[in-house]
């Protein structure tokens, strides 16, 4: 259906799939951010009823920010990236059909943020989720993480920076299911089809109601 240099997207029936393809760790580039926004626009126009977001290969879902990029960052570029990052998060949150993150491997920093803004997360046994910002002197994902899991767990993850293996992520509710790596995309597609078969307006209403209940003022966020 579409692609840019580091992102691919396609539709099968009424299910759209977006693949972050920026090897080896699928670090989140601005090219990816633009790709995700373009894909969601095309899915909306094509009448998608559910979306799967995943990373290429079996090593990483999304490795977060590219540390190599940092030397070139000026304050203006950082502002720009943050603005576009927030735009992607909002787009995932307010895209009418649910978005399922298929977590195929490392999910760190900005990659965790991306996964947390999806509606549902399922993982393979290779999934590893870490709020690693603190390891490099930064802080990210604390707002969304503290809303998705109880604050005590959020503090553990955010202050230690340790990565959760798939089983622990399942236990704490960050993942809804864990399957073998080779079964992940079929499992994600099955979840997406289950949602796509529901009445679309009921699904959209439920998602809107949850968004509104949990974050009334989010539309005004940066």
């Amino acid at each position: 259906m579409g692609e840019n240099a580091q992102t691919r997207w396609s539709m099968d029936g009424r299910v759209g799939t977006i693949v972050i393809d920026n090897p080896p760790m699928n670090v989140l580039s601005d090219v990816n951010r633009r790709g995700i926004l373009a894909a969601l626009d095309e899915f909306r126009a094509a009448g998608a009823r559910a979306v799967v977001l995943t990373g290429h290969g079996d090593r990483a879902f999304c490795g977060g920010a590219d540390l190599k990029e940092e030397e070139r960052l000026t304050p203006d570029i950082v502002d720009d990236f943050q603005r576009r990052g927030a735009e992607v998060n909002r787009a995932l949150r307010h895209f009418e059909p649910p978005v399922i993150a298929a977590i195929n491997g490392w999910t760190m920093g900005g990659g965790l943020v991306l996964a947390l803004w999806c509606d549902i997360r399922i993982g393979s046994t290779r999934a590893k989720l870490g709020a690693v910002g603190v390891k490099v002197g930064l802080m990210a994902s604390n707002v969304q993480l503290a809303r998705l899991v109880p604050e005590g767990r959020a503090r553990d993850m955010l202050l230690t920076g340790r990565a959760l293996e798939a089983e622990e992520a399942l236990r704490v509710g960050l993942l809804s299911a864990v399957v073998a790596p080779e079964a992940l995309m079929a499992e994600a597609a099955a979840w997406a089809r289950m949602i796509a078969d529901r009445p679309a307006d009921a699904v959209a209403r439920a998602k809107r109601a949850l968004n509104a209940a949990l974050e009334p003022a989010l539309e005004t966020a940066p």
Partner: protein
């Protein structure tokens, strides 16, 4: 029994034996709680402060279960409820607590403090305000010497040395 360890403002509670009342309340005030597999917990006669803290830490449904029934529960259930985030064999508890303290202490202090402060302040902010705060802190941390040290150490494949600036 409760032991609290404080590192640059972050606190870790190591829980063994019976944990109830004031002990439980103090443990709930910590950032991270670990328990021995032999520890037990009771929600009996908790103060209002502990009840509020439980609701924030576990969510409303689980907090009400504990506070309104005042029932006793074991370490495994405490883990499932989220009262603690890790359970280990009693003999390993002290080591696990020390390792957790060492892990947090090895992180850049400014980032640790920023996370703690943001989590605490975010509770009383709208989501939009909380995100704005997170972005503003991110920008400030990006300019710290410790962040540059972390990036340099990453590419040089060496252990970073953080100085809290």
């Amino acid at each position: 029994m409760l032991e609290i360890t404080d590192i640059s403002g972050a606190t870790v509670a190591a829980l063994s034996g019976a944990c109830a009342g004031d002990d439980l309340e103090r443990a709930l005030a910590c950032d991270v709680r670990l328990a021995a597999d032999s520890a037990s917990f009771s929600g009996e006669s908790l103060s209002d402060g502990a009840a509020i803290r439980l609701a924030r830490l576990l969510g409303e449904a689980r907090a009400k279960d504990i506070v309104l029934t005042g029932r006793r529960f074991e370490a495994r259930e405490a883990l499932r409820l989220g009262v603690v985030t890790r359970v280990v064999e009693a003999a390993r508890l002290a080591d696990e607590a020390r390792a957790t303290v060492a892990l947090i202490a090895s992180r850049p202090p400014l980032a640790v403090r920023a996370v703690k402060e943001a989590v605490e302040r975010s509770r009383d902010l709208t989501p939009g305000e909380a995100l704005a705060l997170e972005h503003e802190r991110f920008r400030r941390l990006l300019d710290t010497a410790d962040h540059r040290e972390a990036v340099d150490a990453f590419f040089a494949k060496r252990r970073p040395a953080f100085e809290g600036r």
